[in-house]
């Protein structure tokens, strides 16, 4: 079970090039549009039920800002309380270190399982091949492990699955959408519903092939049933689980995971070992803060008043009835560029994100291109600001430009991250890095803006530019079925626009020309030509 080529911003093509390919995929665009339409309608309905929605957004924003401002306090408090409850807290500076820690913890857990009597229950026919680096169990059989996983974008961010596979550990994704992605050797295209770009026929083909089924219906119910059967045996057998976290609660050392299917609860409660990976930005001050975030997250993410399951647990539960959940619990706190985001005071609010995905659904650019064009597990507006900051601005330079700055993302954000403001700020940083600070001399966009400024300042120049533009584009025009004229290719730098969209041809008469003609004729208003 090997994953496809992982989304890696360091090697992904720039957004305009990737997006050009995506907008040509009509099936994908149709699937993405349908899914985002449905979620947006549901979200609007359940948000509309809340007369205090804006107050909740204000409170959520304030809680997140307060947390980030006091991050050293809350991280240490979380670590202290989690440890006191029997958990183990690890710290990872970057993806490589996080991968190494998780792989080591998984190997230790699997080795424990090998020496424990319960391994006798392992069914026959499981892969027993050898692999390097995992050592030998007491019975002489090379270790060959398995882990079950809850959907976690942070594990995608560090490309954990490939690291596990490279030492012979099979990660089974248990979220339905992640299972579709994994079996289809695909990549997630949305933070909350990673397989929204696939329709039921495509999912059925993947399941038939990968689950080796002879018959399978094509209704969502049939497909979900197939996933249930496929995963049930793994839930009952595999003794190590890996999860992400929605929130780390500093006050109690507790962890909160929000989900729908129950696969999360299976992973959190049935295995003997649980390894939770979380960004250092996931901490919240107090248990009571969930009263804000548990109201805004589900409504924003899936358009439900509450998602079917939220789990909150603390360590391995010293002090209450034993046997509830894993015996071994680890939290791996990962930086991986988050302190870089923190260091930029103007972009710091990016860390307030609670990963609801509402900005993706609302974004006209995301809705046209789908998630893969962003070249990162974080797609859409939040990806456009998060990815370049996590990776360093020299990667993913095109992402701050992958937006029309329409503000829809800000409007739906449950913690009021001003994404357009951050996008503009990051565009400034891109220009600065590309020109070494000499913005206006060498940067073509800055030069173009200067020229545009000169044109807009003078009425004569503006009129001349309109006439010239109309003349210049005439050879490039073509008519569609309705007789409307379009331009689908512009030369030089202007091609940046037409690479990813067609341009409506300029009208034969400008508003000014129409207005002046109207004045001459003395015609009544409202008869535009």
């Amino acid at each position: 079970m090997s994953g496809g080529t992982a989304l890696n911003p360091k090697t992904a093509p720039p957004f305009p090039i990737a997006a050009t390919a995506m907008v040509g995929n009509t099936q994908l665009r149709k699937n993405v549009r349908h899914a985002t339409d449905v979620i947006q309608a549901k979200r609007a309905r359940v948000v509309g039920e809340m007369p205090d929605w804006q107050a909740l957004r204000d409170a959520g924003s304030a809680v997140r800002e307060h947390t980030i401002r006091n991050l050293p306090f809350y991280l240490e408090q979380f670590e202290r309380n989690c440890t006191a409850a029997g958990g183990h807290v690890h710290w990872a500076r970057d993806a490589a270190e996080a991968r190494a820690i998780v792989v080591r913890l998984a190997q230790e857990a699997i080795a424990r399982g090998r020496t424990a009597p319960s391994i006798a229950g392992r069914p026959a026919g499981e892969p027993q091949g050898t692999h390097p680096g995992a050592g030998e169990a007491a019975d002489g059989v090379a270790l060959q492990g398995e882990v079950i996983k809850i959907k976690s974008m942070t594990t995608e961010e560090i490309q954990l699955n490939r690291a596990l596979e490279s030492v012979g550990i099979h990660p089974y994704e248990t979220d339905l959408a992640e299972l579709i992605i994994q079996l289809g050797q695909d990549q997630p295209s949305h933070i909350v519903v990673p397989a929204l770009h696939k329709n039921r026929q495509q999912i059925r083909e993947i399941f038939l092939r990968e689950m080796k089924l002879e018959h399978l219906g094509e209704s969502p119910q049939d497909l979900a049933d197939a996933a249930r059967r496929f995963l049930r045996e793994k839930f009952l057998r595999v003794e190590t689980a890996i999860s992400g976290a929605n929130f780390l609660i500093a006050e109690t050392g507790g962890v909160c995971v929000v989900e729908s299917e129950g696969n999360g609860r299976m992973c959190l409660t049935l295995p003997k070992t649980l390894i939770t990976l979380a960004g250092i930005d996931k901490v919240v001050p107090r248990f009571q803060d969930l009263e804000v975030l548990l109201q805004t997250l589900p409504r924003s993410a899936t358009g439900e008043r509450m998602n079917p399951y939220n789990s909150v647990w603390t360590g391995v539960g010293k002090g209450y009835a034993a046997g509830d959940g894993p015996e071994h619990f680890h939290v791996v706190l990962i930086d991986n560029g988050r302190t870089e985001v923190l260091a930029d005071a103007e972009a710091r609010q990016t860390l307030h994100c609670i990963r609801c995905g509402a900005c993706q659904n609302a974004c006209p650019v995301y809705r046209e291109t789908g998630g893969h064009a962003y070249g990162s597990v974080y797609a859409g507006p939040i990806g456009a600001i998060l990815t370049p900051q996590l990776l360093g601005m020299h990667y993913a330079q095109s992402l701050p430009y992958a937006s029309s700055l329409c503000g829809a993302c800000y409007e739906v954000c449950p913690v009021k991250i001003n994404i357009p403001e951050v996008l503009v700020h990051l565009r400034g940083r891109v220009v600065e890095e590309n020109t070494g600070g000499l913005k206006t001399i060498t940067n073509p966009e800055a030069m173009a803006m200067k020229a545009a400024g000169a044109i807009f300042r003078s009425e004569g120049r503006f009129r001349a530019a309109q006439r010239l533009g109309r003349m210049g584009e005439t050879p490039l025009e073509r008519r569609d079925g309705q007789g409307q004229k379009w331009v689908s290719w512009l030369p030089g730098m202007l091609g940046g626009w037409t690479n990813v969209r067609d341009l409506r041809a300029m009208p034969q008469q400008t508003f000014r020309e129409w207005w002046e003609e109207r004045e001459r004729k003395g015609a009544p208003a409202g008869e535009a030509g």
């Binding site: 007369p51 006091n70 306090f73 979220d175 729908s260 009571q288 909150v312 302190t339």
Partner: protein, 219 residues
């Protein structure tokens, strides 16, 4: 981060964060700042009790849960009806469940820390609950007598859950404030049966958790 190669990753990350936002402040200062955060949202509901209970029932129905309004004396009889309707012969129960809820003629098996495979033998489980939230149709279960381990309400396909009307709150903030005293316990918020919308945004009941949720709302 070469300057920190001699430092542990913990110290490297924390010192970086401190370098940016300043040293960790004392608990009192941070606590005062937290207490002053704006909370203009509705913490409680002005609705009367009947409206709150009706809202809970409406929300539960919305998630395809079955709701039965019963008196304390009717619990056992209703459990018997559901069990017979579903054709069940045995039902899993956590330690500490009220004996009066269990009708004669049904085999109740107490959860003695069954393994996942052993839990998988059971079709149904009967538990109590800590509270329920009307606004969101949510039941909250904790590791307390009568509510059991988290796994016990997860693996069986049918969950019968007893909720006392006095434990029904209107809003999420009311619930969180009641749960504060036991915030460290393993806690599960259940809003309807397991569901997914991953395939073309079509909501489907029951992927991995219980497919059927029966709520006995006790006067």
């Amino acid at each position: 981060m070469t300057e920190s190669s001699a430092m542990s990753s913990r110290e490297a990350i924390l010192s970086r964060v401190r370098g940016i936002v300043g040293e960790a402040r004392d608990a009192d200062t941070v606590g005062l700042e937290w207490a002053a955060l704006p909370r203009a949202y509705n913490a409680a509901s002005a609705a009367d009790r009947d409206a709150v209970l009706l809202r809970l029932i409406d929300r539960l129905h919305d998630y395809d849960a079955q709701v039965y309004r019963v008196s304390p004396e009717e619990i056992a009889g209703t459990v018997r009806e559901i069990v017979s309707l579903l054709g069940l012969t045995e039902v899993l129960v956590p330690a500490g469940l009220a004996q009066g809820w269990l009708p004669d003629g049904v085999a109740f098996v107490k959860d003695e820390g069954f393994s996942p495979r052993e839990l998988d033998r059971f079709t149904a489980v009967l538990t109590g609950s800590t509270l329920a939230i009307a606004e969101t149709g949510t039941l909250v279960l904790q590791n307390l007598p009568g509510q059991g381990r988290r796994a016990a309400t997860l693996v069986p396909d049918v969950h019968l859950c007893v909720v006392r009307e006095q434990d029904v709150v209107a809003t999420v903030p009311e619930a969180m404030r009641r749960l504060q005293a036991t915030a460290e316990l393993p806690t599960t918020f259940i809003s309807g049966p397991s569901a997914t919308a991953d395939i073309e945004m079509t909501r489907i009941k029951g992927v991995h958790g219980p497919r059927f949720l029966h709520v006995l709302l006790v006067r």
